[in-house]
């Protein structure tokens, strides 16, 4: 009897990863072409449109970069926790609560000058995100409750907090009774630096560069790597696993919350429940595709941002939103699948006889 197993490659080919992604992409595009063809949509036009409306002009490139910002920061947040083998599935809620904290700061400082206010909002956003991760972090570090469930469940709670604020405490007095909060003051908007790309693009770049250094070159990052690969070894050399688990989840939450602050000041006119719009979950995919590396997160987020921006535009060719969503998912799936296959190989082995 034979069976299939997934075994880690002993000597992965150098540069195999990008090549695998390329193969995965081509594979996905071919399957996608079949899908488009079977639903009666124009194949070449669809792909061409997708490219033109994501990377085809300065205007759309700047939109793609803006979209990449929350994706990159959410991906970074997930990858930070993953270094310790922890899964932060709650970036969505941390983004929302970070944005909520930033909006709260804007209510306090609505007469402050723009740079001061925005700085205060972004700090509040990071603290808010960390606060939203605090419960799951403590539950994990102190009594070992799985962070996967707790972080996930808090996403819905963050949404309800915004709904509550919309319905009463922060309700827009000029909103004719509709459920919306008061708009942000004008000076709370991040300015544009190039075409439609806002300052958040540069800020995100700086944050990622910092973490690329911090995770690999700092003592804290070094200890984290040890703790992530062997709890025993870490404990032996005096690293407290409890503080590391707590710290890394709070840091992950802070980065996600910061993403919420950037998204609020960069793209929104007021706090709303779609500030995160799936970025927190997409961050998990970004982190996985980037193999949990900050530099990888950057590249993947830009590609993913383009996929989202361009993927939406093909609806104008008559492609249904469902087919557009499947097409985007196929491309991600192809890339992830290829990533797995470059690190692992499928082997046919003899089934053990019991």
């Amino acid at each position: 009897m034979k069976r299939l197993v997934l075994a880690r490659r002993e000597n992965p080919t150098r540069g195999g990863q990008p090549l695998a992604f390329l193969v995965g992409l081509v594979f996905a595009l071919v399957i996608g072409a079949l899908l488009l063809w079977s639903s009666g949509d124009p194949v070449i036009d669809t792909y061409q449109r997708m490219w033109e409306r994501s990377f085809g002009s300065r205007d759309v490139i700047s939109a793609t970069l803006n979209r990449a910002v929350p994706l990159a920061l959410a991906g970074l947040a997930v990858s930070i926790a993953a270094k310790m083998g922890l899964w932060n599935i709650g970036a969505e809620g941390q983004i929302l609560f970070g944005a909520t904290a930033a909006a709260g700061m804007a209510r306090i400082g609505d007469s402050w000058p723009g740079p001061v206010l925005i700085t205060a909002m972004l700090i509040a956003a990071a603290i808010g995100g960390a606060l939203w991760a605090l419960g799951p972090a403590l539950a994990r570090s102190e009594i070992g409750v799985s962070e996967i469930i707790t972080t996930l469940m808090l996403n819905e709670v963050a949404l309800r907090v915004i709904r509550y604020l919309q319905s009463g405490p922060w309700k827009d007095p000029d909103g004719f009774g509709n459920l919306q909060v008061t708009p942000l003051p004008d000076q709370a908007a991040l300015g544009n630096i190039w075409e439609r790309a806002h300052l958040g693009v540069l800020i995100a770049l700086a944050v990622i560069a910092f973490f690329a250094w911090f995770m690999t070159r700092s003592v804290w990052g070094y200890e984290l790597r040890i703790a992530g690969s062997s709890a025993k070894a870490a404990t032996y050399i005096g690293i407290s696993m409890r503080t590391k688990v707590l710290g890394v989840l709070l840091l992950s939450g802070a980065v996600a919350g910061f993403a919420g602050g950037i998204e609020l000041t960069g793209t929104a006119s007021r706090l709303n429940e779609n500030i995160s719009n799936g970025f927190g979950f997409a961050g998990i995919i970004v982190a996985a595709l980037a193999l949990m590396r900050p530099s990888g997160v950057l590249v993947v987020a830009v590609a993913f941002g383009g996929l989202q921006v361009g993927g939406q535009s093909i609806q104008l060719l008559g492609v249904s939103s469902a087919v557009s969503a499947i097409l985007q998912a196929l491309i991600l799936f192809g890339a992830i699948g290829a990533g797995v296959l470059s690190a692992y190989q499928i082997r046919l082995v003899d089934r053990k006889v019991a």
Binding site: R53, D59, N66, F176, G177, S269, N272, Q312, L317
Partner: protein, 366 residues
């Protein structure tokens, strides 16, 4: 590539015009309307019932009537960058009119209207506008709500009607109040119990909300929701149902009583024609049954013929402008008089309505 696509679209449209021109007199008004490109941003997918379905039916009717090129995008989240991108995609494709069909698109509409002064921005359910190229549109759906309430009031034997409602905002509260006032015409003892769902479209939540109302004694369910789930719950319980947005009789045929429905076609047609002719101006629109933008849907065959006549009479009075549902005396839940006898409520008070009429069981605060 784009040119070729436009040619194909134009050819298809030309063909469909020839096909429809034989059947009815609605055909193209000729002139500039068929040069217009109109684009719709949808919050959901058209599917085969509900809010987005009704808008898409209107779009198709307008396309057939004017020959305009129409574009759509679906599933665009409110307050997300998706909306701005959708509008820019439309404008890159040559759109002359943007119809945005959900409230939360308002801030982005305002911003983009300022950036693209040559494009008409028309926003459903919103309240913002400028004097040049940005306005809003909606319909007085409380009118058919009132009529559907008359039928529901006569149908309940427990004197309890359940109302599955989305969010406590004036639009929804106005509908509940009009429905209740209508129900009281045919059943002075009726109570309308409100169950808030905090969702516009979530079949599981809406079905559960309807079931809870049915268990609490309601035998008729009304709703301000986008799915048919409340109707299916009523059908399963052997109760009756008043649907909303579009005629949903096919989804719960024995429960279905009637519905308050939208017919956006005439409005979309007139905007496209006015833009084509260069006569469009940015006046906010809030039309009623007289314009045909809102109407009572089909009425179940087992509803008493005398009642149907009574309902149609009241409907005719509303169409003629001789009767308004919010005519006093109207008291709120606390017994305070809100509208004096013989007085009709003004539009401003209706648009900000945040209180329930006497007879509603529930909190207008959510």
């Amino acid at each position: 590539m784009r040119r070729r696509l436009l040619l194909v679209v134009a050819a298809v449209l030309a063909f469909s015009l020839v096909a429809t021109a034989c059947g009815d007199d609605g055909g193209s008004t000729g002139g500039a309307s068929d040069d217009v490109t109109a684009a719709w941003v949808y919050i959901g997918q058209p599917g085969d019932a509900g809010w987005t379905f009704a808008h898409d039916q209107g779009r198709q009717a307008a396309a057939d009537a004017t020959g305009a090129t129409t574009l759509t995008v679906e599933n665009i989240a409110e307050g997300s960058p998706e909306f701005e991108q959708a509008v820019r995609d439309f404008i890159a494709e040559g759109a002359d009119i943007i119809f945005a069909t959900s409230f939360g698109y308002m801030d982005d509409m305002e911003k983009l209207a300022a950036e693209f002064p040559d494009v008409v921005f028309d926003h459903a359910t919103g309240f913002k506008s400028n004097d040049t190229n940005f306005t809003n549109y909606f319909g007085r759906v409380y009118q058919p709500r009132y009529l559907s309430g008359m039928i529901a009031g006569a149908s309940t034997t427990t004197d309890t009607i359940g109302y599955v409602a989305a969010f406590p905002i004036p639009e929804v509260i106005r509908g509940i109040n009009a429905f209740t006032l209508g129900a009281q015409v045919t059943n002075p003892d009726v109570t309308v119990q409100v169950n808030w769902t905090s969702t516009w479209f979530d079949p599981a939540v809406e079905g559960d909300a309807a079931s809870a109302l049915l268990e609490a004694g309601a035998d008729v369910i009304a709703m301000h929701q986008d799915s048919t789930a409340a109707g299916e719950a009523a059908e399963a319980a052997g109760a009756r149902w008043v649907s909303y947005n579009s005629d949903m009789s096919a989804f719960a045929p024995s429960a279905y009583l009637t519905s308050a429905v939208w017919d956006w076609g005439p409005y979309y047609t007139s905007v496209i024609e006015e833009v084509g002719a260069g006569t469009w101006d940015a006046t906010p629109y809030w039309g009623g049954m007289d314009d045909g933008i809102v109407k009572l849907g089909s009425i179940a065959s087992d509803v008493d013929a005398a009642l149907v006549t009574q309902v149609n009479d009241v409907g005719d009075q509303m169409t003629a402008g001789t009767f308004d549902p919010f005519t006093g005396p109207i008291n709120d839940q606390d017994g305070t008089e809100r509208v004096a006898a013989g007085v009709s409520m003004d539009d401003g008070s209706m648009l900000g309505m945040d209180w329930f009429v006497d007879g509603v069981d529930g909190s207008a605060g959510g």
